[in-house]
């Protein structure tokens, strides 16, 4: 498994980091880190899990769905921010 790191400081937001591995154009490993706030806190692993097996084009919908389904409130980055960072893992 080849894990890549990507980091971005969101303007007017927080630091967002990911460790990602992509195999056959699908995410096989993903961890999200940073100094952001996310409520409820135990939903971050659910967000990560929801993206495993997803292709580049499926990520944004999956992010939006899990945020809605789990009623996740994020301060410090947006769904667009994390989607953009994840796309780096597909390059």
């Amino acid at each position: 498994m080849q894990i890549k790191d990507f980091t971005v400081k969101i303007i007017n937001g927080k630091l967002l980091k990911i460790k990602i591995s992509v195999k056959n154009e699908k995410i096989e490993y993903l961890q999200i880190f940073g100094d952001f706030f996310l409520y409820p806190e135990d939903s971050l692993p659910k967000l990560e899990k929801a993206l495993i097996g997803k292709s580049k084009d499926e990520c944004f919908i999956a992010i939006q769905k899990i945020i809605k389904d789990e009623n996740i409130n994020i301060i410090g980055f947006s769904p667009e921010d994390i989607n953009k960072l994840i796309h780096g893992g597909f390059k």
């Binding site: 980091k17 961890q31 940073g34 100094d35 952001f36 706030f37 971050l44 409130n73 301060i75 410090g76």
Partner: protein, 250 residues
């Protein structure tokens, strides 16, 4: 009629694990708002709930210098707790003097600290979501979590700051970047001593902050200690905060 809130002042500094265990125990048993002030011994690093321990902290330096490391239950960034006063507030989110709204509740508690700092002669401003600045520099940061409708917000208040030491515990390997960051942090961080040029007794700072909460929330305080139920939960929680499983979670 004014609400009566509990006030817990730790007379002696205590460990990071115990401090985090007490905060979460107070949140679990909260049937009345409780404000707590505490300090840390040994000096400690707390990392945010979602941070990578290895990325954020120079673990070897901490081991060599007797600095404890704990993962907080709250989000936010890594903090070096040394010469500071820390507060925590547990309050039910249905409290009439409080807003359920996440942003408003952060602001509301920070306003209490601003009022307290004003009594010490400082003009602090709230910078969303979790910072307080004086003369453009950060003097206080905070983080909030919610469980079973109870808000726990804890926050720092820098009494004195040693930025060089602060940066030795941070894991920044690239020397060039490190220089830039040190310079940046030195310009961004301040303390009560820096801003006032005075050395306050910690009890005077606690008194001012308590007064700030009274002014903000129109409440009275009753000096209090942990109940036996809270102590029991604290010991259970402390085991978790001391564990590698929790601290190395991500």
């Amino acid at each position: 009629m004014k609400q009566e809130w509990r006030l817990i002042i730790e007379n002696e500094p205590i460990s990071a694990y115990e401090n985090m265990a007490i905060d979460t125990a107070l949140q679990s048993h909260c049937d009345q708002p409780v404000l707590r002030f505490y300090t840390w011994k040994p000096a400690s690093v707390s990392i945010g709930r979602f941070q990578n321990l290895y990325d954020e902290v120079n673990i070897n330096y901490c081991k060599e210098n007797n600095i404890d490391i704990v993962r907080r239950i709250t989000g936010g960034g890594a903090v070096f707790h040394d010469q500071e006063l820390t507060y925590s507030l547990c309050i039910n989110e249905d409290n009439i003097y409080f807003s359920k709204d996440l942003h408003e509740s952060y602001k509301s508690i920070c306003e209490a600290i601003i009022k307290g700092l004003s009594l010490l002669g400082m003009d602090a401003k709230y910078v969303p979501i979790n910072d307080l600045i004086v003369n453009g520099k950060k003097i206080s940061g905070c983080a909030q979590t919610r469980k079973n409708n109870v808000i726990l917000q804890h926050g720092t208040l820098l009494i004195k700051v040693d930025v060089d030491k602060m940066f030795k515990i941070l894991n920044v390997s690239n020397e060039k970047i490190k220089d830039k960051l040190i310079s940046d942090v030195k310009q961004r961080v301040t303390s009560i001593e820096n801003e006032t040029g005075k050395k306050f007794q910690i009890n005077d700072i606690i008194k001012a902050m308590t007064e700030g909460f009274k002014l903000q929330f129109k409440c009275d305080f009753l000096n209090s200690k942990l109940t036996q139920d809270e102590i029991n939960t604290m010991y259970e929680n402390k085991v978790i905060f001391e564990s590698n499983k929790w601290n190395h979670e991500r």
